[in-house]
């Protein structure tokens, strides 16, 4: 039996017809005419006839050639999806026509073309894919895209956006977008996020950003600088939060009015450049009381290591010797803080001063995750210790805010 076949089974002495969907935990899952799915013992199911192939009806889509050209690059996060109520299957849609027919208002904002370099769950994202993605975006911008929208699963979206941010100098907006509620449900945040991200992608912006719900209401989306944003909630629509800074913009919904902060980088302010080397042999560890110093041995082969230390950037003294060894053996170690907010300062306490003497680099107020991505990129650019240190401590893409402003 295959999905869509007409079958029968008997329940409570009555025979009923149903559509065969799948097998699950040794039960045949059937869809009744009422729409309900039920699981019944496979042995009780009789095949009646094969299902008919049903073709989805796709209304024709006309794009307005006067609107700016925008590229949608989908990596697996669904910006649009379709439910087949017959089988209950939810399929994601990633061609321009499919996306526009799902979110028709998009066609009033731009002219779209789409690419899908790969399709993965975002927890399976890895640095080699960032490179692929960066090249893909680069090609699209070279080919004339006035803005790029990257659809991405939310789990690792901030890491990816940050990576693209370091790899690309961009003259146009590169907007990462996703949804916290799947696109198949009427309450999904996908439509609002997609429309807002398209609006930002055509705005006067020239940097990599994440565009997602600003609150749990459908009132506005926040535009977060890629290097300062973090997923701060597992499931809320407004999970993405800028840390230590205001979002660089917001788009109200449904009127799609855009306001950008004065410090947002403008369209055309940067020349398109791709520097896509990344050193994958980097790691991030969080320090905690009782951490076994021996664990650091596992990181001996890393070229770069970001530590999320306690408070101002500390680790237990027991780790000090191994840290010294790692640095001596050529591992770049960057100290960040597990507090996430505030600045690392290893000059205040003895532990910190010892770390500095050991050659650990203060990560300023960089987010640990951003510091990891940056370290991968920096080590991809240079082998020279002094240069590595300089690049790690210099603000390249907004990842370091030199002053900790009050109220954030």
């Amino acid at each position: 039996m295959k999905t869509g076949d007409l079958v029968s089974c008997t329940i409570g002495g009555k025979m009923l017809e149903a559509v065969y969907i799948t097998e699950r935990d040794e039960r045949a899952v059937l869809k009744l005419s009422s729409g309900y799915n039920i699981g019944v013992p496979i042995s009780e199911v009789r095949h009646i006839r094969d299902g008919e192939e049903r073709k989805g009806f796709e209304p024709p889509v006309v794009q307005d050639s006067k609107l700016p050209e925008l590229a949608i690059i989908s990596t697996g996060g669904t910006i649009a999806s379709r439910v087949d109520y017959r089988t209950g299957a939810v399929t994601s849609r990633s061609t321009a026509d499919e996306i526009i027919s799902a979110i028709p208002r998009l066609a009033t904002i731009g002219r779209f073309r789409t690419r899908q370099p790969f399709s993965i769950l975002s927890e399976n994202m890895k640095p080699s894919m960032w490179i692929e993605l960066a090249r893909c975006i680069y090609d699209e911008i070279q080919a004339g895209a006035r803005g790029v929208i990257v659809t991405h699963g939310t789990d690792t979206m901030a890491y990816s956006a940050s990576a693209i941010s370091f790899m690309l100098d961009t003259p146009v907006p590169i907007i990462f977008v996703g949804s916290q509620r799947s696109a198949d449900r009427p309450s999904s945040d996908n439509v609002m996020n997609a429309l807002c991200s398209a609006a930002v992608a055509s705005a006067n912006l020239g940097e990599v950003a994440i565009c997602m719900h600003g609150t749990v209401n459908d009132d506005y989306c926040a535009v977060h600088r890629a290097t300062r944003v973090r997923k701060m909630h597992t499931s809320r629509r407004d999970a993405f939060q800028s840390i230590g800074t205001e979002p660089i913009g917001r788009i109200t919904y449904p009127d799609l009015e855009i306001s950008l902060q004065a410090d947002a980088i403008g369209r055309g302010d940067q020349v398109l450049t791709l520097r896509d080397a990344m050193e994958e042999k980097c790691a991030l560890i969080s320090y905690y009381p009782g951490m076994d110093p021996a664990i650091l041995d596992a990181y001996a082969s890393c070229r770069g290591l970001v530590i999320a230390g306690t408070g101002l950037g500390h680790v237990g003294t027991v780790l000090m010797e191994r840290i010294r060894e790692l640095v001596c053996n050529g591992t770049t170690i960057v100290m960040t803080t597990q507090c996430l907010q505030g600045r690392v300062c290893d000059r205040v306490y003895d532990t910190g001063r010892d770390l500095l003497r050991a050659g650990v680099i203060e990560g300023e107020d960089m987010l640990p995750e951003t510091a990891l991505v940056k370290l991968m990129w920096v080590l991809g650019q240079t082998d020279e210790t002094g240069e590595i240190r300089r690049l790690m401590q210099e603000n390249l893409k907004g990842e370091i805010i030199r002053r900790s402003v009050y109220g954030l």
């Binding site: 329940i11 699981g39 013992p41 379709r82 109520y85 209401n217 499931s235």
Partner: protein
């Protein structure tokens, strides 16, 4: 009416909230709140998603005619699951257990693997845009001959506060939906089956009680008629009325169809703007309208105004449709001049609309958009009158009539709720379920074991206070006292506006124990309960009706009174009991049981005599 001749068939769906500790797919308590207690509000758009056929569900499309921006009130007893901001928890096992118990009582067969589905609902009553529902069992029998098709366990929707605002407290309370086959053929039969299923539900002792916790939807059709679902029948006693009025409606509409056909009646496609005709009208409604549209129904004269249910005309049906566009209703020439519209205005209207005497002109007012939409809707309904009876979901009106709500939903738009894992129902689970005693059996037992009159026993068994009554009996309270207090006294107090709902069972029973011992007078119960309802402690409440009177005190008092009246008593002998009793009771009424007074007084008099 001869329902057999008319070919009435009816079925019901019963929705019953379950009384679980937590909601069906989250861990919030299943309690309702006052909207003033809300501590947050969220605002969301809902949109119909495109189905695999490129179309949108018929009912969903209807909803989409209006804006879909909704507001939700949150409480400290709701959580991110109700807000659609957190995945649901696994299905509440307590709710499933109750559902399986009901299924077993109705002789149904459970589904071996229960799948939670998402049923699309975009009227705003679900933050998700769908209702989670699972088919748990199928094919049972109720009351000997009515087939039960299915029992589903689903989440209750949010309660509507205003047009676009909902309250999240109710959302997610477990609800069973029991669907019967269309196996009923008279209005009374419908009521009986509903009543029987209700009794089964309450026999589990695990369902919510009170207003809104149970709702019946009735499906009705007659031969040549159409299937109509009337939603939200909350009172059992109204069911026969609802059924018979719907039959009357369908009969009338069939007659209207025949008459229209014989007149070769026609419904136009277009509409005409007649705003100018009413520029100086005295009709308040028309005066303030930015736009008035009209259309002429050829051959409909007299029919639009014809009654099809008490107080409802064909015009009402058209008006129901028009209202979906946001207008207040419509006027038609069958009822005009009236409502401030003058004869001259009607004449001018007819002239403009080229309507002759056999025609009926309808007019609607509102913004241009509203009026255009409303005319279109009204004409759509007028056209249906030529076809017969539309299949509709209707809502019950207070007296038993009904009004149009939306078309009957098509095959439900359902797909799997992937956030909730399926649940296996094993034979062992079913075998382990102990069937509860039916309330009818409880009542019979009360009569037999406690000697309570049949009607009262039934009353007790069906009452919310049944568990209290059972505890009271277990505590040794006399059944009559318990029954009278828990049923009659509380009901009388409730009629006086005294709500004893929050007085805990334990307190009631302690009070009855005191009465049983004679420490508190039966007569004082209403006043004491009143005090308890006001928040007093038991001791405070008892003291509030006067200091209690011990038997010793009573003996002293009686001795004194009897001594004073010794002569009178000796005169009258035992016949003095009545008058002297009156004197004593004047002093102690409500503070000690009358029977005790009578006993002691009798002994005391005997001594004197």
């Amino acid at each position: 009416m001869d329902y057999k001749v008319l070919g009435l068939t009816a079925g019901i769906e019963i929705h019953q909230q379950l009384d679980t500790a937590e909601k069906l797919y989250c861990r919030c308590p299943t309690i309702l709140r006052n909207i003033d207690e809300r501590n947050g509000e969220i605002r969301r758009y809902l949109r119909a998603t495109v189905s695999e056929m490129g179309g949108i569900d018929r009912a969903a499309e209807e909803e989409m005619k209006q804006m879909r921006f909704f507001s939700y009130y949150a409480y400290d007893t709701t959580c991110l699951v109700e807000n659609d901001d957190e995945p649901p928890t696994p299905m509440n096992p307590e709710a499933l257990q109750i559902t399986l118990t009901i299924a077993k009582m109705l002789l149904m067969t459970p589904i071996s693997q229960v799948h939670t589905m998402r049923k699309m609902v975009i009227d705003g009553s679900n933050t998700t845009g769908f209702q989670r529902t699972a088919l748990v069992a199928m094919n049972g029998i109720a009351g000997g001959d009515c087939a039960i098709e299915s029992i589903c366990l689903e989440e209750e929707a949010a309660q509507r506060v205003t047009d676009k605002t909902f309250s999240l407290d109710r959302l997610g309370i477990p609800l069973v939906e029991i669907t019967t086959a269309p196996c009923m053929h008279t209005p009374e039969e419908v009521k009986e089956i509903a009543e029987y299923i209700g009794m089964i539900l309450r026999s589990t002792r695990k369902v919510k009680r009170g207003l809104g916790t149970i709702r019946q939807d009735v499906n009705i059709s007659i031969r040549d008629g159409a299937r109509v679902e009337i939603k939200g029948v909350q009172e059992l006693d109204l069911i026969p009325e609802v059924v018979s009025r719907e039959v009357e409606r369908q009969v009338s509409l069939l007659a209207i169809r025949e008459e229209l056909r014989s007149r070769s009646a026609e419904v136009p496609r277009g509409k005409i703007d007649v705003t100018d005709l009413f520029s100086s009208t005295k009709s308040k409604v028309l005066k303030k309208a930015p736009c008035i549209m009209a259309a002429t129904l050829k051959g409909f004269a007299g029919i639009v105004g014809r009654e099809i249910q008490p107080g409802r005309r064909l015009g009402s049906e058209m008006s129901d449709y028009a209202k979906k566009c946001g207008v207040g209703g419509l006027f038609h020439t069958d009822e005009l001049p009236a409502y401030g519209v003058t004869e001259e205005e009607v004449a001018a209207l007819r002239e403009r609309m080229l309507a002759d005497d056999g025609d009926c002109v309808i007019i609607v007012s509102g913004t241009e958009e509203q009026a255009s939409c409303a005319i279109r809707q009204a004409l759509k309904r007028a056209g249906m009158a030529l076809e017969g009876i539309p299949e509709e979901t209707r809502k019950m009106l207070p007296e038993g009539c009904s009004a149009y709500m939306r078309p009957l939903p098509g095959a439900a738009r359902m797909y799997p709720e992937t956030d909730v894992l399926p649940v296996e129902i094993t034979e062992e689970m079913m075998d382990a379920i102990k069937l509860p005693e039916l309330l009818t059996d409880v009542a019979a037992r009360f009569t037999e074991e406690l000697g309570i009159d049949g009607a009262l026993a039934r009353h007790i068994a069906y009452s919310d206070r049944l568990p209290t009554f059972e505890k009271a009996i277990a505590a040794g309270i006399k059944p009559a006292l318990a029954a009278r207090t828990l049923i009659s006294t509380l009901r009388e107090l409730s009629r006086d506006g005294v709500d004893c709902g929050r007085v805990p069972d334990e307190m009631l029973i302690l009070l009855l124990v005191r009465v049983n011992k004679g420490e508190v007078a039966k007569e004082a119960l209403p006043d004491i309960l009143r005090a308890l309802a006001g928040g007093a402690s038991l001791e405070e409440a008892i003291l509030s009706v006067g200091p209690t009177f011990s038997v010793k005190d009573l003996e002293c008092l009686i001795e004194e009174i009897v001594t004073e009246r010794a002569e009178f008593i000796r005169d009258r002998g035992m016949a003095a009991l009545g008058p002297v009793m009156g004197v004593v009771m004047k002093e102690v009424r409500g503070r000690i049981d009358g029977q005790i007074v009578a006993d002691i007084l009798k002994r005391s008099i005997e001594k004197v005599i």
